[in-house]
């Protein structure tokens, strides 16, 4: 079994998977607290336009998609504050408009696009050393920000008015959270794909909330679960010869349902 760890593609997949898993599971706590589960899905789908733009212009799609996703995240933030529309409505509009733009751009790109399929559904075989450096750099930056300012971010999320009065720049922290989410979701697209990536943002945090009573362990369990399901999912996908992204999500969903069942049975006792 250990021999699969000797494959360079599996080593790269595990390293990036663990980094992305930790990142999304930690950010997922704030996504759950802010009831913005649709945000991750919206950003991931919207990033198709950035990916298509990268493919069309011959520039590396991932960096272009990151920049595009940050712009979309900032537009969502701006519209949430300047209009009466709900966050879900705004995300729904930007998500579909960006996907439409992506489809138009891809139609203008001549020939078959094998890279596109890997972005849609994720492909661990396409993860390069450059991707690891890019993902590692952003993940370190975002995790350092979270480690240093998680209390301010939590306070700003729980009770924005009280946090403002306490002297915390709640707007800045919210903007940084939106940017961190946009970047992390796009970084994870190579592993899980546009269609599935938001699951890693939601499932570990949701499972953790069922298993613990303290906020501190809420973070730790979410991160740990995310790493476990990614490693298990990757290994399982190798042995059963199934798509890695989909297998990871199926493992995560199974753990969630087990936790939900366990928590229900415990409450009944």
């Amino acid at each position: 079994m250990l021999e699969i760890l000797s494959f360079p593609f599996m080593q790269r997949a595990l390293v990036t998977g663990i980094l992305i898993g930790l990142l999304l599971a930690t950010l997922g706590i704030f996504v759950l607290m802010r009831n913005m589960a649709f945000f991750g899905d919206g950003i991931a789908h919207a990033s198709l336009a950035g990916i298509a733009l990268g493919i069309l212009t011959g520039v590396a799609p991932l960096p272009v998609a990151i920049i595009y996703a940050i712009v979309v995240a900032l537009i969502i933030y701006g519209l949430e504050r300047s209009t009466r529309l709900s966050s879900d409505t705004i995300i729904g509009i930007l998500f579909t408009a960006s996907m439409a733009l992506g489809v138009v751009l891809l139609a203008a790109t001549p020939g078959f696009q094998p890279e596109l399929v890997s972005f849609l559904f994720g492909n661990i075989l396409t993860i390069t050393f450059t991707d690891i450096v890019l993902i590692g750099s952003f993940a370190t930056l975002i995790l350092v920000w979270l480690l240093g300012w998680h209390r301010h971010l939590t306070y700003a999320t729980l009770d924005p008015d009280s946090a403002t009065i306490a002297g915390i720049n709640t707007q800045l922290h919210t903007i940084l959270l939106y940017i961190a989410l946009a970047v992390s979701v796009v970084l994870g697209v190579k592993i899980l794909g546009i269609v599935l990536i938001s699951a890693l943002l939601i499932i570990p945090a949701a499972t953790s909330s069922l298993l613990t009573g303290t906020f501190k362990s809420f973070f730790w369990i979410s991160g740990l679960l995310s790493v476990v399901v990614i490693v298990l999912g990757l290994l399982l996908s190798f042995f059963i010869d199934a798509p890695s992204g989909a297998t990871i999500i199926l493992v995560a969903a199974s753990v969630f349902f087990l936790a939900a069942l366990g928590s229900h049975l415990l409450k009944r006792r």
């Binding site: 607290m33 939590t154 729980l158 008015d161 403002t164 306490a166 002297g167 906020f215 501190k216």
Partner: protein, 249 residues
């Protein structure tokens, strides 16, 4: 009435001059002016939609205003951020977020405030620190939650304490205890306390000053002077005054 010096009482904690706020061209506050001396316990009274919460949010720097001046201790509001306690009207802990009372308070704790202040502030609001800190936020009753929110607001010993309808969701016996607690905090720490309330009877008996609001300021002063039949009629209408006259006029 208070234990602190006369000089302290004369210092102005809050100064509001000609404050006007409109939403979509509809005036919510019109030319409101008043002063609150340091160490006073003040209640903002008024019917629903009279601008009470808007006024409090403006005093906290959370509500932009079209006209007027607001100064806290003769300085801009933001100069006092970190030195203001606030108990919001609506705060419902999210059931999907596991968090203990201890964690909830610690998140709001300024790093300059020692950790033992958590226990002290819980004791001050009448909660057992050991058992209260371990409780889940989502399982607190309305009264317990209000006490925890007050403990959070006073943890840093602020000079100013704002409470937006602190008795919402609490039974009559709990209301009485809550107002007594707020009075004790005001006297013990010399905090200037501003609270919004609908409880005219309890307020009249326990505060130093009332600000009667119905878009504009109807009356301001000690309750026994300001809460006249005329001012209460302007606030709540003649029917209310007729039915409550025997109680406080």
């Amino acid at each position: 009435m208070h234990t602190h010096s006369h000089k302290h009482l004369e210092a102005t904690a809050i100064l509001v001059e000609n404050l006007s706020i409109s939403f979509n061209q509809q005036p919510v506050l019109k030319n409101v002016s008043f002063e609150v001396a340091k160490g006073r316990l003040v209640a903002i009274l008024g019917p629903n939609g009279s601008g009470k919460t808007t006024l409090m949010r403006a005093l906290l720097g959370l509500q932009p205003y079209q006209q007027g001046v607001i100064r806290l201790f003769n300085e801009p509001i933001s100069a006092h951020y970190g030195n203001i306690g606030y108990v919001p009207q609506k705060f419902a802990p999210d059931k999907s977020v596991p968090m203990t009372v201890g964690e909830f308070l610690d998140i709001a704790r300024d790093r300059r405030t020692p950790i033992h202040r958590l226990n002290e502030s819980l004791e001050e609001v009448g909660l057992n620190p050991v058992s209260a800190r371990a409780k889940q936020m989502a399982t607190l009753s309305g009264g317990q939650l209000q006490r925890v929110l007050i403990a959070r607001a006073i943890m840093h010993h602020p000079d100013l304490l704002f409470l937006d309808e602190p008795s919402t969701g609490i039974d009559i016996a709990g209301e009485q205890t809550l107002f007594e607690l707020i009075g004790t905090l005001n006297k013990k720490h010399g905090m200037t306390v501003i609270m919004i309330s609908h409880e005219v009877n309890m307020i009249a008996a326990s505060v130093d000053q009332v600000l009667c609001l119905n878009t504009s300021l109807v009356c301001s002063g000690p309750p026994n002077v300001a809460l006249t039949k005329d001012s209460l009629t302007q606030l709540y209408g003649s029917d209310y005054v007729a039915s409550h006259q025997h109680k406080h006029v």
